[in-house]
Amino acid sequence: MNELQFLTWVRGPGLNIAIGVFILGVLWRLIEIYTLGRKQDLAAPRRRPGASGFHTVWRRSLAPPGMLKRSPVSYIGGYIFHVGLAIVVFLFAPHIKLVDSLLGLSWPGLPSQLIDAVSVVTLAAMVVVLVDRINKPVKRFLSTFEDYFTWALTFLPVLTGYLAVKHLLLPYTTMLALHILSVELLLIAIPFTKLFHGITVFASRWYNGDVNGRKGVAV
Amino acid sequence: MNDLKGIPIAVADDTAGLTLSGNAVPILHEIQSLLCDLVTSGKSASIDLRSLPLFPGDYERLKEVLGQGEVSATIDAMGPTRVRETAVHGVWWVTHYNNDETSIAEYIEVTYMPEILRTHPADARVGLDMLHSRLTPATETDIGDGDV
């Protein structure tokens, strides 16, 4: 198989498989989780100011008091690479074009050089976060194969995308095909690993806040 | 095809801002080094002006420095080829054109005589035969009608 055939495969059958598994997995897990439900809370709700689902979504987006000083890398590095990822994925013209072709939605993007800079920052932040995970004893102790695996699955698309646009390392056709392949692997992994937090995070936070809010506690 | 006529055409000024690539100066230095070789060891060489990106300003710069010499020749070879010696003796500017007057190659030759101007020894032999046949009157073996 030559490089153009490889590219055509990842743009064709590969994409079909990845999107198919992604949709299957997401629906499966969403239904599985949300049909579980909870026992109905029959007590009278004790409403307190600052104790509700939305408050918790906001509060959990910030570092708990004192934690920023104890583990700055987690929060600062974490935010930088998440925001960077969002910018690169959603504001780069070829990506917008991709979404347009799949869903018919389109929006303005950012200049390509800005995206280049953001990609580099994102890659750097991810490396810093990984190094911190390995260096901090508690983090290292808590880390499993899944943590490193999902890190790699998230890192590779940004890296291969940057290399492709800049025409570095490998010929463009192969680099682009590898980029698309790495995104397909990421898509397949999202529903079945901790990466699913991307879809459930705000609902989870809201739920925690709501449940405890009824009991009159602000979490 | 009415749609084609409705498309307005405007010619853009594409020379704005693109005058000098900075490649003229290295070429001039290379010419100097080749001329030095010519003078010391008689070695000829040429520079292909299409091998480097050159903008109109670069050509101006080259012409400015090299100047115009005394010799100017046109060769009629399936389209004109213009050969000019620059004011710098030994440096020749050779431009090849095809029948449509489109430039197909451009060289700066550092030499005593550009190859394309010189007569090739084999051609001179052919020339000798040609002249000989022109000077020798028709012989008796020619079939003629008697009217000379």
Binding site: N2, G12, I23, P94, Y172, L176 | I47, A77, A105
Partner: protein, 361 residues
């Protein structure tokens, strides 16, 4: 038939002087990025060459490659090359036809065994015994194998001969294959393109004739001097790509300003050819300069690489199975929810209350 006169003598008879010859070798050297000194060498060598026998086999092709190579601009190297070679067999250009033409070919093969240049355009069908393309009752496959035996080298001109081209595109009903899929024991130069640029074809032939060697080839067998860079690498619209200025549709504001055609499906980044530098029609323009994206015509399987109008970052064809996947996912999710509920019910049923007395046991 090839005679014993050298090329210089043949050309002189046609009024092509030695100087003209030198001039065109100079333009060839410029085109192939050879050192200027090569021009004089080329001229000397080429002048002494006895007319090289060339056999041109046309198989499953559209004749576009021949059309391209004969688009010469009042005498240029194309016509010189045709003077330089003894084109002993060429369907479109030869005067002979029928059995006389086949006889000419066999004669040339015998006279020049081991030395003739074989040029092939068109793919070779292999299905059903190769019956889908035959010449004088001989299948293309058989003719290729037989003619290749005595060839010094083979030049596969056009994407069909080089990689299979349009006949090979899905579903490939004739079982079309490339020349290099059949002949394994001769040096093969692939000159792809649909069609290839005229001067690229003649440049390669000129190189082989004058230097007697195969030019440097890439992994797909293409001469690096013409196929070493992608269109994207040398495209004059590259600054717009780098700045993210893309035309969104044909003839919109961006297109009129000459912005990058990536979003309109340009395959420039994945296509290796000389279009952006050498251009077409004697250097007048090339597809992107005329406002249309590159089709990728010098790459293998470009016909199957998705629509010409979908960008490289978009899926090649519409995505399939989404509805089926959604249904399947929902079904599994519901099944899992039943399983979970059953588990929960079981756990509840199996729950045993404990008293302090139990704990003291």
């Amino acid at each position: 038939m090839s005679d014993d006169k050298t090329l210089a003598e043949t050309l002189a008879r046609r009024g092509v002087s030695r100087r003209t010859f030198l001039k065109f070798c100079a333009s060839m050297a410029t085109l192939m990025a050879m050192p200027p000194a090569m021009a004089a060498q080329m001229a000397e060598k080429l002048a002494k060459v006895k007319r090289q026998s060339v056999i041109w086999l046309s198989f499953q092709e559209c004749t576009g490659c021949t059309e391209s190579i004969t688009r010469s601009h009042s005498p240029t190297l194309e016509s010189l090359i045709f003077d330089a070679v003894s084109l002993d067999y060429h369907h479109t250009l030869q005067a002979a036809s029928g059995m006389a033409a086949e006889a000419a070919r066999e004669h040339a093969m015998k006279d020049n065994y081991g030395k003739y240049l074989l040029v092939v355009d068109g793919s070779v069908p292999t299905k059903d015994g190769g019956v889908y393309s035959t010449i004088a009752g001989i299948s293309n496959y058989d003719m290729l194998v037989e003619t290749a035996k005595g060839a010094a080298a083979i030049i596969s001109v056009g994407t069909c001969a080089a990689y299979g081209g349009i006949p090979k595109a899905n579903p490939n009903p004739t079982g079309a294959v490339a020349v290099s899929d059949i002949i394994k024991d001769k040096p093969i130069i692939n000159v792809p393109g649909c069609p290839p640029i005229p001067v690229v074809m003649t440049g390669v032939i000129a190189h082989v004739l004058t230097l007697g060697t195969i030019p440097d080839l890439d992994e797909l067998g293409r001469p690096k001097v013409f196929f070493g860079d992608t269109i994207h690498d040398r495209c004059y619209r590259r600054p717009f790509y780098d700045q993210g200025k893309f035309a969104k549709s044909f003839d919109d504001e961006g297109a009129r300003n000459g912005w990058c055609l990536f979003e309109l499906g340009c395959k420039g980044p994945v296509t290796y050819n000389a279009c952006a530098t050498t251009k077409w029609n004697g250097g007048v323009s090339f597809p992107i300069e005329s406002g249309h994206g590159c089709l990728g015509c010098s790459e293998p399987n470009f016909w199957d690489a998705g629509s010409f109008y979908t960008a490289l970052s978009m899926p090649a064809d519409p995505v399939k199975y989404t509805a089926a996947a959604a249904l399947a996912g929902a079904a599994v999710g519901v099944a899992m929810s039943f399983a979970s509920r059953a588990k929960k019910a079981d756990a509840k049923a199996a729950h045993q209350t404990a008293t302090v007395a139990d704990l003291r046991k």
